[in-house]
Symmetry: C2
Subunit: 379 residues, 2 copies
Amino acid sequence: MIFEVKKESHGARAGVLKTHHGKVKTPCFMTIATAGAIKGLIPDEGKKLGAQIFLSNTYHLHLRPGEELVARAGGLHAFMGWQGPILTDSGGYQVFSLSKCRKVTQEGVQFQSHIDGTKVMLTPEKSIEIQQKLGSDIMMCLDECLPYPCDRKIAEESLELTTNWARRCRAAPPWRGRRDKACLVPTTTSSLFGIVQGGMYPDLRERSAKELVTIGFDGYAIGGLSVGEKAPLMYEMLEATVPHLPKDQPRYLMGVGTPQNILEAVERGIDMFDCVLPTRNARHGYLFTSQGPLRIKNESFREDFSPLDPKCSCPVCKKYSRAYLRHLLMSGEILGLRLLTWHNVAFYLKLMHDIRASILKGRFATFKKTFLKRYGQTP
Amino acid sequence: MIFEVKKESHGARAGVLKTHHGKVKTPCFMTIATAGAIKGLIPDEGKKLGAQIFLSNTYHLHLRPGEELVARAGGLHAFMGWQGPILTDSGGYQVFSLSKCRKVTQEGVQFQSHIDGTKVMLTPEKSIEIQQKLGSDIMMCLDECLPYPCDRKIAEESLELTTNWARRCRAAPPWRGRRDKACLVPTTTSSLFGIVQGGMYPDLRERSAKELVTIGFDGYAIGGLSVGEKAPLMYEMLEATVPHLPKDQPRYLMGVGTPQNILEAVERGIDMFDCVLPTRNARHGYLFTSQGPLRIKNESFREDFSPLDPKCSCPVCKKYSRAYLRHLLMSGEILGLRLLTWHNVAFYLKLMHDIRASILKGRFATFKKTFLKRYGQTP
């Protein structure tokens, strides 16, 4: 994987990330395709909005339909009909947030499937094997996700485990795929990112970053943030971490966040983002607009025949009214979920596009100020 | 409304129906857009598959969001973003199938909303008023829907009521709309169809048809079929009805049916159809293919990387495998519901297209035979 920083502006960087399945212009937002599907959208619809890369979840795909099946389908790209880049997470986050009866050992983490209760063991090597079989372009190391708040001693022990697991992920053998049954997953071209942990302790964050850099990865993610802490604390952790990461490699802030979070993180040198907010919030009727968030279920939109966001040029805002979208959601229409997701994804991708354009023009600070003035300051 | 029969072949007719919002080539299938939305699809996606006209439900739209709101939006066409023809039903069918505590009188039918339990009164005049406010191109008369089986005496009394209601629908005053608040619903151009009832009694069907023709409508529907009776009985009722309907006006068989039902009905002179099967069955994983129906949840499709229907050229069959579609449905992904609906709607519209083409070539009988040989004979 090749990463190139094209321009810096007020701490923010505009770059290009080259993967086996094409280029990604950064800063980028990776739309979530949990089980190999964006909620209600086909990948091409995302692409038309500016989506360059999707994120799929190893935990979900391992449990259903299983990475072996996906590999036999020709990998996740063929399976879901998307020929652009795909990043997969390690499965760790979902093990810690979705499954029950977890048992963490040095070896890995044993958990119960949230689908059928079967016991599953996820080790660093297993996570990499799964991600390779999925045909991931960018794989993530298995890490332990901490609760918040978390005692320093626990955070410290966990950090050691995460670093050990990262080392084992790096050393995991490449899975070369099989050429039978149309299995053409080009697994040896997958990149691997380490994940900085360390709770809310700046020195542990620094230590984690340095240990991972010593092991050496294709990029570095920052995990364990946006877990309940206040935004300024998150930004403090970024400031404690980013300076210790290589300048010529991509930096990915996992699972973050609101438009405000993204702007602040970009300013602190982050290149990649993913978050469930645009897709999950859409399904609950929480929409992102240039004027700030909007709850479409509010009675005030019942007869509002204007578009969701008059400044948005997405297919939804061009054609449908707030009143119609509200009606669809209130009526439980699948089309409502799809249209609202479509708009929210469009909003996030447009935001990233505008951020990047402002960096290239050397005007990121102005852009951020103008955006927040219109949108609102509070994350 | 102008209807023209272009060609007949073995009892089947190919025609053109001209409405205020454009032409409809018949025989046609009207995809259901219950509350002003096709399940998961936007109207333009339907149009690309060959959809010419959608059917929306007066009952649903009256209860939510209300016809007044839709009228203020500029009518249903503007509200749902579809500038082609729309047929609305009378609300009667849903009152009898969805709501509780019905009380039928000469005046109309009182019922409880299935949404919030409020009492609602639907009269023939009210049904027409609602449909006019929705801006319907083709309105339906309010009729009483009978259970099956049903005593002759009850069927006879019900028929009298239905004829009376039809007369009142015909005489209902035109609602001229209001030009304020962008309300441009061209209500005076709506057509009105009568609905033949009469249970499973051929002579009552004949009587109903003749009474309606005497009143005079723009087209004639046949209601109360596919309500539990065996297919041959349904066909017998069609044979008892169609000869008494004007040859130069459209005939619409309501709520029917399977591909086999449609072929048999076309052969008996039916021009228009609607049915929940393609959309509802899709959501349950029941797919229509040229080889017959397919239950995508079956284990046998788990690793089947071929398209749903190799003979289908819809966007779903061109891009996705049975294994992927099965995975989406098993995972509860909204995208699965959308893609499967997309395919089923495509199948029905393609069937209608092929039926019409065969009639125009004078080869309907051959087409029917060939289709059923591949698809299966049992409805």
